[in-house]
Symmetry: D2
Subunit: 352 residues, 4 copies
């Protein structure tokens, strides 16, 4: 009953096999291998447009490098107030950009509110060197409260970015889960909706350590090989990074994994919905479930060996605050979550 995070899961069989398969003989290093050479085309096919792919081993690396590619040192990065780049990366973007500033915008379900974003941009003292100047936007798909951005919602943010000359970054740590939910083309929630650069996550959904920066605007890609090297993120045995990413997107493997993960999330949410001592804080769109639990239930679950985290800051839906005696908890399912485990969880929830 490990629902602590999807990154407590391991490597999918296909991806592990791909690593093993890539392990034959010698290969060019630092990106000079045949597998890395295939990335641009493979992701281009997936996204139905020409892209440049810059593979790295961590999501923070993907985010910080993406943001540095679109934000000058005196630039502002407008992101969600609960966003990972804002709160969970120890100020990586601030360092790598040379001192840019992140602004936590108001969100709904951790999705940046277009109305508030517009207001903030309208009120910005533009061009005055005292003030950091808006340069980029960053949104998370799936959001940090487990909500999925609809294509038209992304497009709304994309249009604002466009109107203000800003670049739009998407932190797609759970991009697969979003596409699985939406059953849309990856293009629909990225470049067609105004996204300029994407952190395409694979690690949380079955890779060992692999994320792809997918750049839709070739001009933005120019600095990335240098920035990646300068931050120590160019892997010498790059074939193994490429092998993970190729196996991940081949034959819809990434969506198969995400479908399972999402299904487990829905199963878990269903259990909580009917619970006497728990209720959903937000109806989940993908594999993250936020719910209010009472102390006895939390205790019972922990006693039974369930793993999950309390959520310290805020709650997903203003209209649905915690009540006396309730605490906000996050449950994350993954490609590896067994239905039996969710059912065991459900039994405890139903019985407590």
């Amino acid at each position: 009953m490990n629902f602590a995070s999807d990154n407590t899961s391991g490597i999918s069989d296909r991806i592990l096999a791909a690593i093993a398969e890539a392990n034959s003989g010698f290969a060019g290093s630092y990106g000079g291998d045949d597998l890395t050479a295939r990335l641009d085309d493979a992701f281009g096919a997936l996204f139905e447009t020409a892209v440049t792919v810059v593979p790295v081993a961590t999501g923070t690396a993907a985010n910080m490098l993406s943001l540095a590619a679109i934000t000058p040192p005196w630039g502002g990065i407008l992101c969600g107030d609960h966003s990972h780049v804002m709160t969970d990366e120890c100020g990586a973007a601030e360092l790598v950009t040379g001192g840019a500033k992140l602004f936590g915008m108001a969100t709904r379900n951790a999705k940046m509110r277009a109305d508030r974003l517009k207001e903030a941009l309208a009120a910005w003292p533009g061009g005055v060197p005292h003030h950091v100047q808006p340069a980029s936007l960053s949104i998370s798909q799936v959001s940090e409260f487990g909500a999925v951005w609809q294509p038209e919602e992304v497009a709304q943010i994309g249009a604002i970015a466009d109107a203000h000359g800003l670049k739009l970054h998407m932190d797609g740590a759970r991009f697969a889960n979003a596409v699985a939910t939406l059953q849309c083309a990856p293009a629909d929630i990225t470049w067609k909706a105004g996204v300029d650069i994407l952190s395409f996550g694979a690690t949380k959904n079955g890779a060992m350590a692999a994320e792809a920066i997918v750049v839709f605007d070739p001009a933005l890609a120019e600095s990335l090989p240098f920035r990646r090297m300068k931050t120590g993120h160019l892997l010498s045995k790059s074939r193994f990074l490429a092998a993970q990413l190729l196996a991940y997107i081949e034959d819809g493997h990434w969506l198969a994994l995400a479908n399972h993960s999402n299904a487990m999330g829905a199963r878990l949410a269903a259990a909580l919905e009917q619970a006497p001592n728990a209720r959903l804080a937000l109806k989940p769109d993908a594999n993250e479930v936020f719910a209010y639990l009472t102390a006895p239930l939390i205790e019972a679950l922990k006693a039974a060996g369930a793993t999950f985290h309390g959520w310290p800051a805020g709650y997903p839906d203003e209209a649905n605050p915690p009540r006396e005696g309730e605490s906000l908890m996050r449950f994350v399912t993954s490609f590896q979550t067994a239905p039996e485990e969710v059912d065991r969880f459900a039994e405890i929830v139903a019985a407590t």
Copy 2:
């Protein structure tokens, strides 16, 4: 006949097996797993002293984070003029330290010369804020020209560091090859000789992507978890990084790999030593062979499919410069180098 670099090799069987073995069920992320928990003790046993281990995926990450831990923004990092940190990491240390400055000290066989180092330090305008102040030293074991530091040579540098209040970093990208050559205890060329922090490389010698920052002075380790996160180098599925490192040092696997690699280097050097159209630029100590080749031999080797690189800057031994018509070439062997390949290489060398 791939002698381009040891990082064109793949993953050793034991290490790949360890990755697969670690892939069972769920595990704490971001270092909260059982394998990561074992690193300090395992490396402590190897180094015969208490150490703190900070695992990362690349050598540049290990180097830049190590140097940042021992160098303030106004500090000088004195390193070899041919050193990897100086010439091959795109200024990573400069970024991560907040603007420190690297000084390429005179070397012999790419090993920093103690006499020249002393002179440089004696002449330094100490304490004057106009000038970057010496803060740290960095030496490479094996050196970039394939020479191994003897314990007493390291100790000589360590004593200089100590006398000037500097911290000593060792870039041990090929640490295993050095220990294999020296048949010494790892302690003898590190903390016992004054090394404060070590980039313990595994990737070039059989890991997929794994390096350990080994910190001998606990005070220096305090900033590293934050610096690692802030540069995007904390892997979420950290168990796989730890699994590589543990398998690497278990049962002397790392030395077995290095012994083979070194033996192949010696075999290759022997072939070049007797060649009509080649001669060694420096007698190799480990798995990197630098030799002067004539154009016809280079051409013949390339025609036969051999892979190796010319070396653009300088040459290892002042007393042994290239002659007219010769070019300096580098050949690197690895744990994966087959004796038959070296022999095929030797045949061409002998016949051309």
Copy 3:
């Protein structure tokens, strides 16, 4: 009728004379002059304790260097949500610290609220490398809404800093105005109340371009000469910086200037208090007056040549929000403000 800012004023006669007087013959450069040599003692006498003084030419330089001296790259700087360091310095602290993060804490009258600060610190996920760790606090004396910190209020923040192992910085851009209001010893609102490092402003109150970083903890001063040089803030003809600072604090000149400035602020506030089309947004403590004005009055004042700025973000007192048709305006008086000008302003205010 220039009430745009106190930095639209010029140089006080005494300070200009001091510059001229310092201009005789040759003097050691880069701080090696006799006037600079007197700074530590002169400010030590003023603050009744041993201090280290680091003179610079701008307030932003004083703030960013102070914050860098007390905040590591992964540190959090907790400051007021309306603070100058947060909103008006283009992310200088972020750059110079190597990527630290500023957190805008809730304020009352732009003074950081001790209760909210405590809550924020209590809720901080301490020691987790994902999150920037609180390292320092920064408060502004006078606050950005013109409110003066009482000694016991500073001490309350100082105690919190102490309890959490944080360093306390005071942005004293209008430190003189605060002391003039409080009629306290400078020590009472600085080191005796827990302030570790102070940006002691002189420019806004009569200097040409001179601010003193006053360091109360000698250990914090060690890095500053290097950081100052590394950011280009060491003036070669340093005697003229020292001359300004010495003349400023000599014979209570700084307080005489501030007394006048504050008196003009009070005179201006009195005029607004009785106005038919204006009302104070906050009773001013020093030389900054925030008031709500109606559009006709704003127009009448501008038409008569008055200079002042609207205040874009927030308002000083939650209990006293703007009403329909009112806009928040800031009026700043200075040592140079003529009573006649304030009276002329008052006439228009009374008549409109």
Copy 4:
């Protein structure tokens, strides 16, 4: 007999008067004043082309901001091996660029050698992300060994910059002395010769603290207001910075000051040329005189109260090294140097 540096001099009478004159009433701050508004035109007239002027208070600020405007974080700045930006600014450029790397190129008389520069650029592994990529050149006019660049020499460097797509910066800390020597138009040694951005120094030659970044390519100027603010270099009472710069270039005042300074340099050099215990290390072009002196003469001069510095690293002319018993000394004259003082110096030199 103060020949320690031209920055031990004070403020010229005209410039001090201009500061006093600017001190009347109120003026817009942060560059919003009438004097600052005149800078672009005034310098445009001086340089016979449209320019953007960014005034700052120190030469290091001018240099570091100029270099940041033309160098990305992964860029290389190729400068002279004795250059001020390389050796005397505590790594300011490294910090402000976000980690760029300075390369000390071989020089003659501290002037970058075009032949060696070409060789270095030809050998650079272009486009490889492991290596910092050449982005900018920086030359010092007058050079750090007191040699003046002829227009055609600058043009030679400018052509190389052009051919390699590099931007050319000139550190003109002693630009006035160079123009005084050359009796050329300022345009001849700047934009007409390929200089893109100039640190136009005034402080060493009579200003209190004023340097102008003169940008010849408008595109390069765009980032500077933000970079200046972000490093704390925007002065609030900016009129006094502008007043210094305008007075400096008005009526040829800058050249009058430099002519005197140069004449004093020549007078001092003449004295050393005929000395029994001294000889010139390089025939000086402007106001810096490098000479070899014996210990008794050094002692005699110091005993008589002369101030000057030994030069620690290298010597100006390979063909003219120091001999046994000689030490390299630097003597700098300034606009304030009295002929009588030089003559007193000459007497001691002749008599010892």
